[in-house]
Amino acid sequence: MTRRYETVYIFDSALDEPAITEKLTRFHALLTKDGKGTITNVSHWGKRTMTFKIKKKDTGYYVVAQFDATGDVLPEYERAVKLDEGVIRYMTVQAAREQPKPVEVAAVIAAPEEEEIVEEEEA
């Protein structure tokens, strides 16, 4: 059964763009072989600071790829991605059925940390 998946890759930001594109084509070839899957969208977020260090690196090059594929091609693909030294981290999930749009949410009242509220007992 074909499902819609989505992978976020974090590449080493030391890699240049052609190298990243080359890796992506190689990974995506694993998904599209035998006509078992189609890549629907690839978007490059570019270099971005990560909120914490991963593999001693502060920045990563983010790429999001959406694709339709049958589940049986995923293990081989994920293995290839995992083994690649240029990929700092990746995550494949089933994509949301509806395209999520940016949510404009009014600021939520900043809540104090619960543990920090100390109930003072009257003696």
Binding site: G60, A96, P102, V105, V108
Partner: protein
């Protein structure tokens, strides 16, 4: 006395799904230390609160939002 029911901020915005890649929105539902805001405070409906929890956990894995805010190793 019952307080008037809070309305879900996500439903109000007209969105049905929360996106784990949207770190700016998710950031609004974190405490100052980076914990997930409970629905009691966020005012979210149950469905969106569940989505929020999953989305935040995914975003953390991708280093889009921190596990602990203000923590430097």
């Amino acid at each position: 006395m019952r307080r008037p029911a809070k309305t879900c901020p996500v439903c109000e915005s007209g969105a049905r799904v929360l996106d784990y890649k949207d770190d700016r929105t998710l950031g609004r539902f974190l405490t100052e230390r980076g914990k997930i805001l409970p629905s009691r405070l966020s005012g979210m409906c149950a469905r969106h609160q569940r989505q929020l929890a999953t989305a935040i956990k995914r975003a953390r894995q991708l280093a889009l939002i921190p596990y602990i805010k203000g923590h430097t190793a």
